[in-house]
Structure formats: C-alpha cells, structure tokens
C-alpha cells in the first residue's frame, strides 16, 4: 500500500518537473496561437532549432546547456522575429488555412535544413548534473538536472506572465488581440508588436528546447511531436490565457507521467490527445477560467 503511494507520488513529481518545460512551450504557443491566432505548425521545428543551437554551444565551446539555453532563446527570438516579418506578415490577414500551410512549409524548411546541415544522426548531451541524484526522504529520488530546469522554467514562466500582463508591450499586444483596427488608431504599431510577440513565443519554446536537451536524443524530427501537444496546452488552458497554458503544461506532464506508470509509456501521448478531444467537444473554453483575451 505504502509503496503504491510512493510510486504514484514519485510519478507526480517527475511529471511536474517535465511539465514545467511543457509550460514554457505552451506559453509560447499561447502567445502565438491563443493571443495572435496564428496557427503555428512550426512550433516543434523552432524547438528543434533551439536544441541544435544549445548542442553546438555545448559541443564546440563547452557551454553547459543550463546556460546555453539562454543564448539559444536569444537566437530563436531573432529567427522568430524574422520569420514573422519576412513570411507570416503577408498571410496573417488571410485565412487560417493559408497560415497552417505556410507554417507547415516553414517547419519542413527548418527540418530539411537541419537534416542537411547536421545529417540525421542522433546526439546526446551528458552533463554532470543530469547524472546527479537528489534524494527527498527515503522514497523519492529526483534527477539533479531536472530539478534545476524546473526551478529555471518556473522562474521564467512567472517572468513571462508578468511581462505580458503588466508591461506596456503586453498591453499593446492584448489590445491588438481585442481589436486590431482600434489598436492601430491609438498609435500601436501592429506589425512590430506582433513580430516581437511572435519572436517572444518562439523564444519561449527555445528556452524549453535548450533545457530539454540533456533529457532527449537530438535529431531533426525531435520537435514534431510537440506541435499538437502545444495546441493541446493552449486549448486546455483556455484560448488567450497565458497562465492557463502554463498550468495546462504541468497538468499534461503529470497526466503523461501517471499514464506511463499505470498503462505504459506508449499510451502517454494518446491520453493527451483524448483529453484534448474531450475538452474541445465538452468545454471549448478550456478547463481554467473563461474565454478571454
């Protein structure tokens, strides 16, 4: 009985550790899809790019991923900003269909580019931290690297939430989401604000990618599974709700971890999608809070 309890608790804590990184991915998508309504099928590809940047920093310069992820996020911000300005800006006013197709194309470009540059080889980064184990009492054992990335991502998630809710930029962005035309009338530079927001969303998934690097094998398709997952978080958290997506990330982490424990690893993602379909059909406004911008 007691051991059942401890294994479940261990799974919940492991889930929260992974979920904190999901939160960053979900918050990025909440900015891009939830607030700006850009259906971004390149989210996973952006994450993959960030992992390669972090990997290169580690491999060539010996920078630990726990610092490298910041540089990667900065690079991703620039890439995201440029992607919006160069490509998405031209289709943003058109149908969602076009946005889906162009982001699919962008994802293919990035994945194909990575394939060409780095080949399809698998890479793995080992840091001293990811081997270190932290014991909480006699029953719970945690991976040192995961604990560090949890602390970092919670801090970043809170920072990002405050930035979007309190800063002048965040207010401008939310004004655009409510009414583009009125926002431009009161002197908000719509295109620049959206480009910065897209860059921020991409930088958020970049942060998660860098922090995820020690936990995953790296290859060009590594991010593909995260596209749908990030939409799941946005819908679960309620469209337009940044904090909702963050909480949804934690929920998803725990659900996956518990599913792995009781039904096996292979069903974890299935449960994600089933929850997604249930939420879409039963409570489209999301689990947390009402629909708002």
């Amino acid at each position: 009985m007691a051991s059942l309890f401890w294994s479940a608790l261990q799974a919940v804590i492991d889930g929260l550790l992974t979920g904190s990184l999901y939160s960053l991915i979900g918050m990025g998508m909440a900015l891009i899809f939830g607030v700006m309504r850009i259906v971004n099928f390149a989210h996973g590809a952006f994450m993959m790019l960030s992992m390669y940047v972090t990997y290169l920093l580690f491999d060539r310069l010996g920078v630990t991923p726990y610092l490298g992820f910041l540089a990667a996020a900065a690079v991703l911000f620039v890439i995201g900003f440029a992607t919006y300005h160069g490509l998405l800006r031209w289709v943003n006013e058109r149908s969602e269909f076009m946005i889906i197709l162009i982001t699919l194309g962008i994802a293919q470009m990035f994945i194909g580019g990575a394939q060409l540059t780095f080949s399809g080889d698998f890479h793995k980064v080992n840091t001293p931290l990811s081997g270190a184990l932290v014991h909480l009492g006699s029953h719970i054992t945690l991976n040192g690297g995961d604990v560090l990335s949890f602390v970092i991502s919670v801090a970043l998630a809170i920072g990002m939430f405050l930035f979007v809710m309190k800063s002048r930029f965040g207010r401008a962005l939310r004004a655009i989401a409510q009414n583009r035309y009125a926002a431009s009338l009161i002197g908000i530079n719509v295109q620049r604000t959206q480009a910065v927001a897209f860059g921020l969303g991409v930088a958020a998934v970049g942060l998660a990618g860098g922090l995820f690097l020690p936990a995953f094998y790296l290859y060009p398709e590594v991010g593909s599974g995260f596209n749908l997952k990030s939409f799941v978080m946005v819908v679960l958290g309620g469209m337009g709700s940044i904090e909702g997506a963050a909480i949804a990330g934690l929920v998803l982490g725990v659900v996956e971890s518990l599913t792995s424990l009781y039904w096996g690893n292979q069903w974890a993602v299935v449960v994600d999608f089933v929850i997604f379909l249930l939420v879409l059909s039963l409570r489209p406004a999301g689990l947390f809070g009402s629909q708002r911008v």
Binding site: I100, L101, I106, I111, G264, L280
Partner: protein, 310 residues
Amino acid sequence: MTQRRAILAAVGFALCLLVPLVVQQDYQLNVLFRIALFSALGMAWNLVGGYAGQLSLGHAAFFGIGAYALPLFHDKLGVPIPLALVLVIVAAVAAAYVIGRVSFRLRGPYFALATIAFAEVLRLSVKNLEVTGGDVGLQVPALFGSISPTRWFYLAAVVLAAAALAATAWIVRSRFGYQLQAVREDEDTARACGIDPARTKLNALIISAAFTALGGALYASQYFFIVPDSVLAIDLSERPAISAMLGGAGTMTGPIVGAILIETALELFKNVFHEAFQLIFGVLLVLVVLFLPEGIVGTLASWWRRKRAS
C-alpha cells in the same frame, strides 16, 4: 460547355487506361500509380477541404482505416476480398460519422486540430494494439494476381481517380454541392436559408472518407506490407491537402494538377537532390502560399475570367 468537358474527361480517362501499353517498366508505372492515387485522394479531400471549406488534416485516419481494414477482414476474419472492400468502405463511413460528429461542432483551426488528434490517436493505438500487429505491422492480401500486378494497380488507381472526379462533378452541380459551398461561404447564413450545416458537412466527409479508404486499401495492397507509420502518418493527411491546394482548392481539376506536380517533384527531388528534398519541398510550399494562394487552376481561372470580362 459542360458536354465538351465531359467528353474531354472521358478521352483523358481512356488515354490514362492506355498508358500501360507504352510504359512497361515497374518503376515508372509505380510513379504513375502514385500520381493517380494521390489525385483521387486530393479530390476526395477537396470535397471537405475545398467545397465545404473544412480544413481536415486528419485524412490519414481514413487512409489507414482502409489500409488496415483490408487485411484485418480478409486474413483475420476470412472475408472474401470483394466483400472485404465493401467492409473497408463501411468502416471508413463509420469512422467519418464519429469523427465528423465531434469535429464539426468546432470551427476553423479547432476543426483542423481535432482531425489531427483523431488521426494521431488512431495511429498510436494501432501501434500499440496486438490485433493490428503493433509496430511490426501486417501483411496485406494481394488484390491482383501475380502477373504484372503493378499495371493492374495503376489501372485501379486511375479508375478510383475517375470515380472521384465523376463524384465531384456530380456533387458540384447538385443541390448538395450548392449547400456545401453555401456552408463554406457563411455557415450562419446557410443555416438561415434552411440548410443543416452539420449534416451537409458530415455527408461530404463520409463520401470523402469512403474514397480515401479505398485509396488506402489499394496503396496497402500495392506495398504488400503496412506499418502504422507508413499508412497513418501525418504526412498522408498533409499531402492530399497540399496537392489540392497547390492545384486549387474548390476547383474540380485542381487536385489532379497538384498531385501530378507534387508526386513528380517528390520523385525528382528524391533522386536528384537526395537529402535536400525536404528543404526544397518546404520552400516550394511557402512560395505557393505567398504567390499562388488560389492554386494553379484557381489562379488561371480567375485570370481567364478577368481577360474575358475586359
């Protein structure tokens, strides 16, 4: 005008049937088989994505259901092949009913996301269930005998494509077709005119799913062996959508033009550029969205209309 087009289509169909007299090599016939197959899939997708305006990105589900239903019914349950093909359609229609009932309550991107989620749940389940052979996959019964089967697969795909074209032509002129387009243009107004949008969209999805599943069964039998990642991959949902939209979504011949271009391009890129083909494919997709948003046939048609008007 309509009659001339019908004659043109019939002549084209006859020419396609004669191709195996000229092209004998299996490799080339195989490429032609895929072009015909993806034309059919593109036209099937076009009913939902083009005419009804519902961006489905989960058609891999119907394709995979067709691919898996054939060996499951024939080999596991001993159903003879003609009846198994009928059951393939029944299975796809049932799946379309379930998926449609849930997804069509959603609009815009949510619909697209729900269809992907269904396809992924199906793929992952098939991957992990015993009866479907899991990751190892299943052997698929041969639809055609051993004497030059590639030729027969090609011909079957041409017939499927012709049937899809005929169905599209009939639907576009029917009351049902106008209802579909009304729903696409404005769902609320369509409802005000007495159209039941949910039922209209569901019917379109059911027809589309039946064609897609037959295509899946054909594909599976041609490749003899199937695994979840080959017949239920997201890629199979994207390709018909991309060919339909490259040619022109909501146009009758658009999906054929798109499938010819995409399948030829993929084949060429794979042989000529090897590793770079995915990169080039992505660049092309971006360029099409930026510069040919109505697709090739759509752009040509509006250019032609403008020219005649002036």
